[in-house]
Symmetry: C2
Subunit: 342 residues, 2 copies
């Protein structure tokens, strides 16, 4: 990797075609899995196995909205850009086939300065490390000069016909489950804001800090858990927690035309996070799913814990879609996750 990076630097800042060539050389050209044709033509070409259908998603990441150049290490921006797309694939129970990446960047982010790697190369370090971990080749995309940094990820996945986990399958009586622990990304972001004046290397000196920053800087999409749920036909509905539990559970209930009751003390809270961060903080990228009450849900799937946090109930007109139950009674849980243009 080092050797490759030095090579990239020598080619720094020579225009779009040179940058494209740098990216192309860093991606494998061999036809991997379903990818038949990658970077270098007008389209990428993908092949499905017989009986499969395609799951496709796209997610926009914009400097100043989804990340900050002054807060986030470039490797984290690359990782998070891809994680958003992979997490959507995970929530459908699909296996990732390939990614496409549209990058709009200010010119200075494409140029190496002395011994410092170009921002875009460090972005690709983070992006490709996660891509390799999930065997997801970068199959194409677009590059453009832009007054501000913007990255749009396209993720393509394969799933057996008619077997994708949808938001719309939850029925009254189902249990509501969640993978991992919640609120870590929101707590990490808060810490990152506080630390914004200091350098990343200072942050890394503290193991505790690193633990609190990890869910925000390097969230882990739950591909293995989504595949497990789909293969076992264990889930009736699923969604990934990108906007926060209160908002995403509301989406799932809306699509399923049901309501949900959440048991406050059953919500798994990431160490160092608050209940409010667990309920409303976005970007945890855990899976939220429902299951028939007689389905056995293990305490962990592929090394990640699973918690049952509530149940699906009948939707009643005029009633809130998500209700929080605690010692003091029943409270409506309004959507308080992230919403653009609000």
């Amino acid at each position: 990797m080092r050797g490759k990076r030095s090579e990239l630097i020598q080619n720094g800042g020579q225009g779009e075609l040179a940058l494209l060539d740098r990216i192309r050389r860093r991606t494998t050209r061999s036809a991997s899995g379903g990818l038949r044709l990658g970077i270098g033509d007008d389209c990428a070409i993908l092949r499905l196995k017989p009986g499969e259908e395609l799951a496709v998603t796209t997610d926009l990441s914009i400097a100043g909205r989804h990340f900050r150049l002054e807060w986030h290490p470039p490797e984290s921006v690359g990782h998070r850009t891809l994680a958003r797309g992979l997490s959507d694939i995970a929530s459908m129970g699909a296996r990732p086939l390939a990614a496409l990446l549209s990058l709009g960047l200010p010119k200075e982010l494409t140029i190496a300065r002395g011994r410092r790697h170009a921002w875009v190369d460090r972005f690709l370090d983070g992006f490709l490390a996660l891509a390799n971990q999930h065997r997801t080749p970068l199959a194409g995309g677009d590059l453009a000069e832009s007054p501000m940094a913007v990255a749009d990820i396209v993720l393509l996945g394969a799933v057996p016909r008619g077997k994708a986990l949808l938001r719309s399958g939850a029925r009254p009586g189902d249990v509501v489950c969640v993978t991992g622990a919640l609120g870590g990304a929101a707590a990490g972001l808060e810490l990152l804001q506080k630390l914004s004046g200091r350098s990343v290397s200072t942050m890394r000196n503290s193991k505790k800090r690193e633990g609190l920053l990890a869910p925000h800087l390097r969230p882990q999409p739950r591909i293995a858990q989504g595949l497990w749920l789909r293969r076992r036909q264990a889930a009736t509905a699923a969604i990934d927690l990108s906007d926060g539990l209160s908002t995403d559970l509301d989406h799932l209930c809306a699509e399923s035309e049901v309501s949900a009751e959440i048991d406050t003390k059953a919500v798994p809270i990431y160490t160092g996070a608050t209940l409010s961060q667990a309920l409303h903080g976005g970007e945890d990228y855990e899976l939220l799913f429902t299951a028939r009450p007689n389905t056995t849900i293990p305490h962990g799937i592929a090394g990640v814990s699973v918690s049952t946090i509530g149940k699906i109930v009948k939707r009643r007109a005029g009633q809130p879609r998500v209700i929080l139950v605690d010692a003091s009674g029943r409270h409506s849980l309004p959507r308080a996750g992230w919403e653009h243009f609000s």
Copy 2:
């Protein structure tokens, strides 16, 4: 359409979910062609016919780089955003299956002002009109608030396995052909710049102006022509003219490891454009393709003219990849189309 638009306006500016709902109501929810699941879940789900593979492309359009809010009517920005993706699908000889759209917008572009429709609704008018023309449903995407307008289009198409038109198939002896006339988009852009102080309605009063602006404001992706070439197996290689003939022919020659000689007087020039605009102006979205010399190429395909403009020759080391031949002799044709970061 009018009725639908009035409905949209009443819902203007109520946040991301309201905007998403406005878009969702404007797209057909019926499973059209290969689309099994559209807007409303984490991924769209698409199905291919037996023996087909998937072609996928993504293209970024950024305010100030690919369009200007003060020059381009919103309908044109929507049309052009989709046309870029459809044109890539056309160049592979694929049939469009579905589009996904990532939109980052300043909040004011999502709000209607009095009797004026919101920018985003007029953008969608242009986008959906072209989508309907090519029976391409909007299957999903992403919305985000952004300091500047940015649109990333994802186009998905289907093509019989191993039959896609690639850039890499040109061989010495092949003829070089192009659909339509070139330079119109560059000439239109130049006129648009000159007219930038005046209103669009003033421009529309002049039929001649309208004719010169059309290739830039509403380029027509050559889907029918790409399908014709692929079905007849008439082309050995193809690329769409997005960056300009000199740049795109260079790409095709590079991927095919050949050179090309272009006969200057055979290049079809759009009425009102210059030879330089025809050679280097981008965004015409015509198809450039090569064919075996014994293949009969008609003078028109699906109502669009076809011109033979040169031939493919052997690549010689140290020689330019694209050579222009005119009465005064042979000249190298350097890439002079659009290149970002240059």
